[in-house]
Symmetry: C2
Subunit: 673 residues, 2 copies
């Protein structure tokens, strides 16, 4: 092809393509009467060049395991992505672009993973996408280290991320970027849409740091490109340089103009988050030589040119497939392992579980550690880690090596004191669909990573959040470290499973459930302090763990139900024993996972919490909220009503009135109603 490139590296046809992206974006937002046109208008040239000249993908197979990943961290610019997906031949018809942000459309307000083909990760909440990208880059490194052999590059791709000022102001991106620099993730390439504008106005209002220098301090390769967002020759060069990196992630700082081409709104925050208006769009179309009366226009030559992406992609993947098949023949064991991983099916062999002596109390965090020790050696596609609380979280398993720049086969990630990044990075690993991440911190610090937990729940990422130190049982560290409201705050998140096992055996059962379940994220609440071990031989209903709640101590005709979770199940059992001495029959229910219990049928639920028995006590060393659902109008609650306090944990339980005696008193109070 003999293309005539202008000084910025774009042909006339390229520019027509770029403008098509711009107008589709403007038209989409205008039709929705809602959305963010400014970013796509400014970034269309860069995104177009990236997608048509660099990104390796096959629109016909959005799940091709070796495709380059594209992450729109600035998720509000979703029309940019939808326009590209449509023009490049993904399964996203023009009709869907016309239904931007409408009920039931494939073009949600912000890109949603699993909802729209080609969307690699859910973005919108700022800072998440770029941090997910770090996880995606880690996943590529690990997968390449495990599966690539000789000339067989089974996992051979880059992660390309577009982010804006918002993403870079958010602390989570700083955390993740620092780790990316440390790990030398040369497969990560971020294009920073440096448009000098945020919702409040110019970035000079609050953001005058030297971003490039900051990223250099993180250990990144930083390339700055000035101009007006059209110097694609420079961008191409920068991308080539980025792809050639072998030590460092790359940030390309690309100066653009938000709302480019809008006579009234370019370089203003007005262009950011609202439709430009019919009139303004007409003026722009006129200025660009387009028919101002038409919307959602894709010129034939653009359709043809960008449609090449599909042909090219099919060719790319066909070549890949040949290599893959040769690799699979040469390495059948690896191929089998990979195939099984991709099927998403895991069966945990319970014979491998550690055995716990009913006579020896053990903390559930320790039982969890022992379970990981037993299971992990034969689960090469589960990658652990902790936000610098490894010795406390018991997340490191025997023999696990660190994942580092020079040891990408390592299966233990040292996230540093960066809970939020850990959450977002784990989500980025989880979307691989192959590697399963788990990572630990104290339960109370779930708050630090909550936005990542929320996105995992919304997008059904199978991320495993391991939280330990789950109540005032933390003791001396005091209220800053004692979660009292955290379990409740996790239970409110739709789609998240929160487990609070009562002992070591419930902990192993939990891990079996978690590792076999890939429907979404899970969170654990494990104790710091030792707990008695429940003997499954003595309590056969423990086999019903997966139902979320079960009758641990059964009564033919119970007088009262004692419903507890985690470390408080022992109190319920001791209270039941003492109550028996007073001829009060107390049925004890262990309720390790509310969400699973809610999914059971009414017959089972009624068998565990019989509707006729209104005399009930809920026991949990946390706040009451949510418990009324289970204890009902006549129920009593034994738990926390305030933040905790420093002291030895037994003193804390005593002083806050979470004791066997308190359970007995509550039972009698409920009986008296």
């Amino acid at each position: 092809m003999a293309e005539v490139l202008n000084k910025t590296g774009l042909t006339a046809l390229d520019e027509l393509c770029v403008n098509t992206i711009r107008f589709l974006s403007m038209d989409g937002v205008q039709a929705a009467k809602s959305g963010h046109p400014g970013m796509p208008m400014g970034m269309a040239p860069a995104a177009y060049a990236l997608w048509t000249r660099h990104l390796r993908f096959n629109p016909a197979d959005p799940h091709w395991i070796s495709r380059d990943r594209f992450v729109l961290s600035a998720g509000h610019g979703s029309m940019l992505l939808y326009s590209l997906l449509h023009l490049c031949g993904y399964d996203l018809p023009l009709e869907e672009l016309k239904k931007f942000r409408q009920w039931g459309s494939k073009t949600a307000g912000h890109p949603e993973f699993g909802h729209t083909a080609g969307v690699e990760v859910t973005t919108g909440p700022l800072g998440q996408g770029i941090s997910n990208s770090v996880g995606m880059a880690i996943a590529q490194k690990y997968l390449a280290a495990r599966y690539n052999k000789d000339n067989y590059k089974i996992f051979d791709y880059h992660i390309y991320t577009i982010c804006g000022d918002g993403c870079l102001q958010e602390g989570v991106s700083g955390e993740a970027s620092s780790l990316a620099g440390h790990l030398g993730l040369d497969n990560l390439i971020v294009i920073y849409d440096d448009n000098h504008i945020t919702i409040d106005g110019e970035t000079t209002l609050s953001f005058t740091e030297k971003v490039a220098d900051r990223y250099r301090a993180y250990g990144w390769n930083v390339i700055e490109i000035g101009g007006d967002g059209h110097d694609i020759a420079a961008l191409d060069k920068a991308l080539e340089s980025a792809k050639a990196q072998t030590e460092r992630p790359t940030m390309i700082n690309f100066r653009t103009h938000i709302g480019f081409g809008s006579p009234h709104f370019q370089d203003t925050h007005t262009a950011h988050g609202a439709p430009l208006g019919e009139d303004e769009i007409k003026v722009i179309k006129n200025n660009f030589g387009w028919d101002p009366e038409k919307s959602f226009v894709v010129p034939d030559e653009v359709a043809k040119s960008m449609g090449q992406c599909k042909t090219n992609g099919q060719k790319l993947q066909a070549e890949y497939r040949k290599m893959f098949d040769a690799w699979a023949a040469a390495y059948p064991e690896l191929a089998k392992e990979l195939k099984e991983a991709l099927s998403g099916k895991t069966v945990i062999d319970v014979s491998k579980f550690p055995k716990f002596d009913p006579a020896t109390p053990i903390a559930t965090r320790s039982a969890s550690g022992k379970t990981l020790d037993a299971l992990m050696p034969s689960m090469p596609l589960v990658v652990g880690g902790s936000a610098d609380l490894t010795p406390s979280n018991n997340t490191h398993f025997k023999g696990a090596e660190n994942f580092q720049k020079n040891s990408p086969t390592g299966r233990y990630i040292r996230y540093g004191i960066r809970e939020h990044a850990m959450g977002a990075i784990m989500n980025g690993i989880a979307v691989s669909g192959i590697i399963r991440p788990y990572g630990g911190t104290f339960l109370v610090f779930a708050d630090y990573m909550r936005p990542a937990i929320r996105l995992a729940a919304m997008s059904h990422y199978p991320t495993i959040f391991v939280f330990t130190h789950d109540s005032i049982g933390v003791g001396e560290d005091g209220p800053t470290h004692q979660p009292v409201e955290t379990i409740a705050s996790l239970r409110v998140i739709p789609g998240l499973l929160t487990f609070r096992p009562a002992d070591a055996n419930e902990t192993t059962a939990m891990w079996k459930y978690i590792l076999e379940y890939t429907g979404g994220p899970v969170a654990t609440a494990l104790t710091r302090q030792n707990l008695p071990v429940l003997d499954p031989a003595k309590y056969p209903n423990m086999k019903h763990f997966n139902k979320g709640a079960y009758v641990l101590v059964e009564q033919a005709k119970p007088d009262v139900l004692l419903i507890a979770t985690g470390s408080e199940v022992q109190l319920a059992m001791m209270a039941a024993e003492k109550l028996a001495g007073e001829n009060i029959k107390a049925q004890v229910v262990s309720m390790p996972c509310w969400e699973l219990f809610e999914k059971q049928d009414k017959v089972y639920r009624d068998s565990v919490i019989p509707p006729a028995i209104k005399t009930r006590v809920g026991i949990e060393a946390g706040v009451r909220m949510g418990w009324d659902r289970w204890i009902g109008d006549n129920g009593e609650f034994v738990g926390m009503h305030s933040f905790g306090s420093s002291g030895p944990f037994k003193t804390c339980f005593e002083k806050f009135g979470i004791t066997t005696d308190a359970v007995i008193a509550a039972a009698k109070k409920s009986l008296a109603k």
Copy 2:
């Protein structure tokens, strides 16, 4: 005084003082069998020099408004602070140090604001203290700009903060530090305890970025001091340089050794978070020439030397008082304003409230904005802001100027896209006890700042968290931006008041309550979409807003209770009207603040939700958790059971079944029980 300084700037007496701090810290942790000895051992020289040579304070009056502030951002090193407080003459007897981390002691596991005299802010969760410090520095700048006149320096102090690797890895500190650099907070001086060790091991595991360069990129003055943590001559010089700054905050990167002096544990993570053991402490005492058999020893000369802090402090404050009195005489109006502010009493003049036309629907975020417009001009000690959502949050009030480097009298802070820093900075402003901060973001992004909200609640900071866009009413932005679980997640936090007003008039009543209340933090949940205005003349019970819930539409003998909050109150009212047509008497309860309602006496509570009326419907465009408490065993709930979806907000309400018809159906279902 003719002191003999060694090459690092310490006399023999100084070194004895330093070692006293070290041994008090080791002994405290050992006695508690819990805590963090390593940090105090490494940082004792720096902290000692800072407190005795630079910090201006009066232990006899920990509330002196012009004292220098000291923040131990690395809150786990609490014994360092407690040792200093004790030795410098604060009200913290040696007996309390012996009760470190015990129930009821003044020496909590991590420093707690309001619990121990001299503790400026609650720390422990990493990254918070340094970010609070930015708020404290902003407060000083504002107060100085408002009250200092000529030679009267009424507010003349620095904020000194000690932080470690953890604080600097946390994203929140990056957000806050970037803003601090932007604002040129030259009154902020951070000493970075650069000890190369975290809980997991050496910082080389995960933290190899160039911290100094990063802070330079933020616009800070960075001074690096090598050595072993004893080069106090260099530290003194650095602190003098820092105090002389007029444009930039300062970070002093001070290389130290964790667990300094411990033969077995120095420079290891073992020294970080556990007692060293009796034996090790004895060896160290021996090595340092101390009696290994004695604990909690304060040599007389140390007591005498450090006791000077008290005398010096009293002298300092006496001089200050003279100046203050002269200022008060010269500027009686300002003095009166300041005195009133310090009293903590505010009375809001309801006559200033905007009037809302019952015929014109208005979003509660807009009503909130109008209320701020009306009240703020006469409330110079309330400082607003937003995390870059000003036009959406309606947090900017008429005439408010930006708080910037060159306009420190500005009362509107542009926090940038940094929700977490905003929360922590607001907390730092709030502890001034003089300035009241409010700051806005979308409700869904409360998650980003949750650790700051939690600390505000625990420490009773009167921080005002303004959250708007409070439900699926957000509409087209989709589930990433539609809070469904966020209100519930706020209600679980002990001590936080969460308000969800039903209309414009409840919104003004809310602001009256908030601005008069200083007992702790509050959060608002305001709508994006317009809501009908309730006419107080027609609904006289609206005067009971402060009780958290009240009967909006009363029935002599109600058949059913419809209990709703915020935008769903209108549905309850419309349903009640329709039900009346079917001869079903529905009493409508508006419940804008659960926490306030819970504080009412039983008589009032029973008058609003009569126990005898079991037929109830709860209505809220959020998850159910918590509602069972109010609707009871026979109640029904109309709300969300999943994340939301993109679409026009009316469609979202329709599709998710939150409608008048759904309320009617639920009422009938409850009646049928």
